[in-house]
Structure formats: structure tokens, C-alpha cells
Symmetry: C2
Subunit: 443 residues, 2 copies
């Protein structure tokens, strides 16, 4: 028997430790993957890939106790050498190697040139070789920034008094109904995969007042577009005791402000690698659905085909309008038509054709749908009746309302879409770690 | 058009704001749900349930501008009154009401007496009325602490240089194979729900060195026990450049230490409500599988039936032994038999009947399985061949190894089980927000 007392210390140093003041001149130990080798004859540059970035190592025939022929790309190694400042090296430092120890070797050469600045490969090929393609440091930087977005969401909401919940993804019936639901066999009973945590987060408002979840959702939609996924990560929150849906927009604005600050502070390296300019979040315009349709139609001389729906092209034009007129990267479009919203959306008492709800557009694309919900049991039943819904399979959801619910509302943000627009990518698969679409189930 | 500039300020105060120094004597506004009403004649105590706890309000016939008959349990209200210090009140404060405004009303009386200290209800009834039962402040405290566990997991791992990943739950084939997999129809193709993010997190070690995920996993196991769920939240991490599986145990110990500290600091109210004594994490004994079997068999005079497996009763005895001999709440059991571990587990080179892996037991129950993995492509193929596996559908996983992987290992922790043992509960459903088991698909 031995006691384990905590994280084991290791001699090997990470990039940030190498970059610490006063380290130059020391003999250091570093491990990593051989990202690339540039052999110049007597001297060779061995670039190690570590989690924080690249480290340049210098191999010198007389000094390094190793035969360079025994080293190849994608080996993982532990090296020893003297840390030296060097203006030309990637991070301003290099290691003059004395020893190289091989930890593991690949069985075959790389299928992609991952050490290149840009992977000159089609999206399809990148996805087919996803675990390899992501070893390119710009490819992986995208998902490091995605981490920052989710982290920002959670940390901001903790601070605002929200409670994190974990709700089931297998259910007896879908929260929002409809045909776009994946079905499965659950011990010989029919079951579905949840399209959203909507019902659960609303029920939990009756418990914690404010809740959030960051988890996968599943949509069996037969869209094959650049903006649709059949499985994605949804950042959801729901909050009680609101005065109106403006409180939800305020909370989302607060999240965006907090998160852009977090990215600037903790993800600077990745922002630089990808040359990302963070969007403006100080003030986000909010404009009515019918009003912005009219404004866009007038400014860009475009006929309104359907006054109750937004086409993708209109979303693009709304964002263009917001940028030109208000210098805004984000724009809230409020008061969506009631018939385009689910039954639980609260209608505007002033005009029940419209709802107290909103979408958030970011650089031409919808990344959030949110709004105030109906909180009165009888009103919920009325709306369901109008829509021809029976409430079958929704007993638990309805029971939360039967036994009292505060005025509340919330939203859902598509993590991959928010990342995509932040990086000015034009296909959501570029910012999805392992996308699931109509034709892709692997890797 | 209006600009949204951030979180909207509200006049209504939360419990921690009421408790701030120098607040007594002020007129305050507070909202919440009417948890219970104690009518004493001229005076009534109205207890409001808020997200941080209960607030006592005093209704006085002559002073409060409201007819008490119009108020009932489960109303949500906004009240105004004078904040007063009061030794007898739950948090040492009460609000002497001047006004009550009703925000919403229930349609029917409560099916459970949620205002009681303990819900005197069967687990079955609690689960049937889950969204209502959770309004009991001790019931909901459990899941607040569960939040703290997951939060601790993430925050600790960020600090240790891990990257958070989001991997797909729908797949073409399961990571660990076997029959216990839920099957679904994916646009007329067969698909499954992932039993674990195992393959993905290993592949991602080749990208970020250290990764983690906190997400649902799905097990179609036909166990109907107090410790099994068919869907649960798994806390997974995987780390590269390890010297051995001891590094994984060290990291888990670090997580437990960090998280118990976080609970003590930020979740004191909930720990008190539930009278939880935090377990010892300063040093956790690690003992070999065969050795602890022998020790337990000797000490408790119990025959070893199967030298290659642990029965639940043995797990209980191992924890009892660890408590009695080493004063330990946790115990690592190392070197599990190879035949009980998946193909990717690394065998002990000294004796390939056993693996370089471990389980962590907490108060008599396995809450973690972890260990070192095979990182060499050829060894992985050899082990698969011995087990009669073809590698079909595992091409992407194997390709990561073909192109070089560092020595690595990791673990998975069952969130609900860890919460359960922390609270000394005897059924994992008690600490699962909305459990899924053989018979339960709702709510």
C-alpha cells in the first residue's frame, strides 16, 4: 500500500514555464511531439508541438548525443538541453539539445502536412482525417477558443446566480414535438433524443429561479446546408422573476461582454494565430422584426415576400444594415411572429400576432432564439388548445405550471455557430470538433 | 431601435444582498415563491423561497397593505417592507411587510408538502413529482452541491492545462463495443449512442496533450439496481506524456482535494442543510487488486470466490478495511485483471494477467475506472487480434495511433455516484436530477 497525495510533479516543463523570467541559461527537460524537422546539415531545427504552442529545439552534430536519422516527424520525445533566448525562434526561445529520448513512434508517415501554416486540404479531407488534421496548430486553436466561449458562458452565469443542471437526453417525448426527432428503442419502448432541454430548464426555474445547461441536442432535420448540424452543443439558460424579455437580452449581452473579455485575457495566443478581431459588444441594437424588415427592404430595395418569416438572405441584409447604420456586429431582432414560435412563447398582449421573443443575429446568422415564456397554467392550456395539442406526454411539464411558476424566459445559443461567426468561417463544420450531418457519422 | 447595454439592474434583492452589513432598517423589495404561510391571527409569517435560501416575511394586519386571504402557497410575489434583524428568523433577518404584489398563482394545491424539513415521501413518489419535489430546499441542495463537483472538476483541470472538448454522442459504432448499446435510426443508417467518450478523448490527446469532457453517456444495461443508471453524466479526462498510471491517480486526488475545498468555500449553506461531512482527501491509499482481496479475505474471514473479479460486497469490505486500517474514505484499487478491462488498457509488462489500471472506491462503491492505455499502434493491433476484434468501424481511432501518440492514460468518474456517496445516499436516483432506468423515461 502506498498513499497518493496529489498531482505528481514532473521535471518536464511547459511552454509558459520556459518563457518565465530568468529561465534562459538553464538546462531544461521538455516533452512533446515532433511537429517538423528542418535539417540544415550540421545543424537541424526540431520543432516540438506542445499543448501551449511550438518550441524550437536545435540539434547540433557534436553536441547532441543522438543520431538524427533515428528521429522522424510524429515521434513523441523527451528532450534535454540548454534554454537560450533567440529572436528568430517562434516564441523568442530555443533549446540547444544535449539529449533526445524517444517516447513513441508512428507506424506510418502523416497523411496531411499538418506542420504547414494553413492546411491546404478540402474540408471533406480535413473531416475524414479529423484527429490528425487537428494537430495543425491553427486548426486546434479554433477549439481552444470554443472552450473559452463555453467557459465564459458558465462562469458568467455562476456569477449571476444561475445553477448548472444536467438533464436527460433520452426521453419519452420531445419538448418541442414535430417530426425532426431521432427515435430509438428503449428496452422495447419508443423513446426519442431531446431536441432541446426546454421543458427541463423551465421546470427547474420553479426550483432554482435561474438555471443553465451546456449539453448536446439532437435534430433529425434533413437540411444539408453550411449552417445545420444534426447534433450540436446548445448553451441554454432560463431565468425567473423577469420584467420582460428585455431581461433575457440584457443577460445575453452581459455574457457576450464577459466572454469577449475572457478571450482577450486568456486566449490571446489563439486569437493571434487565427487573426481574429473580437466583435463589438458594448451595445447591441434591438429592433422589431417588422421594423427591420421594412428598413432593410427600403435601404436595399428588396421586396418583402413573406412578412412573417426571415429568409437567410434577409438575415444577411439585417446584419449588413446593423453594421452600416449602427456599427454593430450583433443585432437583436425582437417580436417574432407568433406562428413561427413554439406554443410556450408568450404572445405580445398588444398584438398577439407577435411574441415577446427575439433572435440574435451575428454577422448575418441567427445564433440565438429566446424570449419570455407563458407562465400561467391556464394560458398555456389555451394556447395548446388553439394549436390542437393534447398535452399527452407533457403531464410533468404542465404540472410545474399547475403548481406555480414565476414569470420567466430564456434562450439557447448554438455553440458551433457562435464560434463559426467569431472566426468568419462560412461552414459550421469548420468549428465543430466531430460534425454529424446527413452523410457524416464518423469519425 | 434601442441599444441593449448589459445585464439589467433590478431593485429586487437576493438573500446575500439582504444579509450585507448595514442593510437593516432599509425598505427593501424582494421577490420569491411563497414557500409556506403560518397564520397566527393578527400576524402571519410568510416564508419566501429564493434561490439562495428562505426569507421570513412578517405580515401585520394594520401595517401590510394586503388581504392575507388573497395569498396562498406557491404564489410568486414581489414584496416590499422594512428589513429587520431577528434572532429567531432562519437567517437572522426578516422583512416587515408593507406591500405584497402577486406575480403568478398556482392552479391547484401542492401534491407534496415541500415546505417540510424532510419530504416524507417514497423515492418513487419524489421521482414522479420531480419538478415539484425539488422545491424542497434540502432536495434541491443536493443538486447545488452536484454543480460544485462538476465545477470543481472543470476549474481544476483548466488550471492543470487541460482543454475542454465536446464530442458527438451519436456514432457509427461504440467505443467499447458490446451489446449494451442503444441503437437508433440515423437517416436510414444504423447508429448508436456513445457509451463513453473514450475513443474521442484518446484521439484528442494527440492534439492537446490533456483533454476533458463532462457530458452524458448512455448504457443499455439491463441492471435494475440501486447503483445503475441507463444515462448518466460522465466526468472524463485523458492526459499524455505520463510516466505511469500513478500520474492519473495523482491528478484525480488533486481534483478531489480541490473540489472539497471549493465545496467548503462556496457551498457551505448546502453542506449544512444536508449535514454533510466532507471526506478526507489529503492522502488516498492505493493498493493492488490481488493484495486487497487477500487482506480483506483474511481480516473479515471471507473466502475468495473469484480471484479475477470484485463482488459488490467485496467493494464494501475494501472500503471498510481502508477506513479501519488507514482512516481513508477513498481507496484506489490498482492492477485490475486484464480480462476484466477493455482491449485498450495497458497490460503490466511484469505480469500481463494484470493491467496498469485502477478503480477508485468511495465509501464502498466504485466511482471511477481509469488507467494507462496502449499507445503503440502495433501493440494495439496485437491486443485486438488476441481478443478476436477486427478493427472494423475503428479506422479513425486506429489512425491516430498509426500516426503517433504519446504515452497516455485517463479516467471516467460517475457524477451521480460521486454525489450519492458524498451524501451517504443508498440509491443513485436520489442524486440524479431526472433518472433514466429500466422502467423510467419520465419526467
Amino acid at each position: 500500500m502506498e498513499f497518493v497525495t496529489g498531482v505528481k510533479k514532473t521535471e518536464a516543463l511547459e511552454l509558459s514555464e520556459l518563457l518565465a523570467e530568468g529561465m534562459a541559461g538553464n538546462t531544461v527537460k521538455v516533452n512533446g511531439a515532433v511537429h517538423t524537422i528542418r535539417d540544415m546539415g550540421n545543424v537541424a531545427f526540431i520543432i516540438l508541438r506542445k499543448r501551449e504552442g511550438l518550441v524550437q529545439c536545435v540539434f547540433e552534430e557534436e553536441i547532441t548525443n543522438f543520431d538524427l536519422k533515428d528521429l522522424k516527424e510524429a515521434d513523441t520525445v523527451e528532450v534535454t538541453g540548454i534554454l537560450t533566448e533567440s529572436e528568430k525562434a517562434p516564441e523568442g526561445i530555443e533549446i540547444r539539445l544535449t539529449e533526445i529520448k524517444i517516447l513513441s513512434e508512428p507506424a506510418e508517415p502523416m497523411p496531411l502536412a499538418i506542420a504547414k501554416w494553413k492546411l491546404s486540404t478540402s474540408l471533406e479531407a480535413k473531416l475524414n482525417y479529423r484527429p490528425i488534421a487537428l494537430r495543425n496548430i491553427r486548426e486546434r486553436a479554433r477549439f481552444k477558443i470554443q472552450e473559452g466561449i463555453v467557459r465564459g458562458f458558465r462562469d458568467f452565469l455562476y456569477k449571476e446566480g444561475f445553477t448548472e443542471i444536467h438533464t436527460p437526453k433520452i426521453g419519452a417525448k420531445s419538448a418541442e414535438g414535430g417530426a425532426n426527432v431521432f427515435k430509438l428503442d428503449y428496452f422495447h419502448r419508443p423513446a426519442i433524443l431531446q431536441q432541446s432541454p426546454q421543458f427541463y430548464k423551465q421546470m427547474m426555474v420553479g426550483v432554482y429561479d435561474r438555471v443553465f445547461e451546456t449539453a448536446p441536442v439532437f435534430r433529425a432535420e434533413k437540411h444539408n446546408t453550411k449552417r445545420h448540424l444534426n447534433e450540436y452543443t446548445s448553451l441554454d439558460f432560463e431565468m425567473g422573476y423577469i420584467d420582460g424579455f428585455e431581461d433575457i437580452m440584457g443577460m445575453e449581452t452581459g455574457f457576450l461582454q464577459y466572454t469577449m473579455g475572457l478571450l482577450k485575457q486568456d486566449y490571446e495566443r489563439e486569437l493571434k494565430l487565427l487573426e481574429i478581431e473580437l466583435p463589438k459588444t458594448k451595445q447591441i441594437p434591438a429592433v422589431r422584426f417588422d421594423e427591420i424588415k421594412r428598413l432593410v427592404s427600403e435601404k436595399y430595395d428588396r421586396k418583402i415576400k413573406n412578412p412573417f418569416d426571415l429568409e437567410p438572405e434577409e438575415e444577411t441584409l439585417i446584419s449588413r444594415y446593423a453594421k452600416e447604420e449602427w456599427d454593430a456586429d450583433f443585432v437583436f431582432v425582437t417580436h417574432y411572429p407568433s406562428k413561427k414560435r413554439p406554443f410556450y412563447a408568450m404572445d405580445d398582449p398588444k398584438d398577439t400576432t407577435f411574441t415577446l421573443s427575439f433572435d440574435l443575429l451575428f454577422r448575418g446568422m441567427e445564433i440565438t432564439t429566446g424570449g419570455q415564456r407563458i407562465h400561467e397554467y391556464r394560458k398555456l392550456l389555451e394556447k395548446m388548445e388553439v394549436r390542437g395539442m393534447t398535452g399527452e406526454g407533457m403531464e410533468q411539464y404542465l404540472s410545474a405550471f399547475k403548481h406555480g411558476m414565476p414569470p420567466h424566459g430564456g434562450l439557447g445559443i448554438g455553440m458551433e455557430r457562435l464560434t463559426m461567426k467569431l472566426m468568419n468561417e462560412d461552414n459550421v463544420r469548420e468549428t465543430t470538433l466531430f460534425p454529424r450531418d446527413l452523410s457524416r457519422l464518423e469519425p
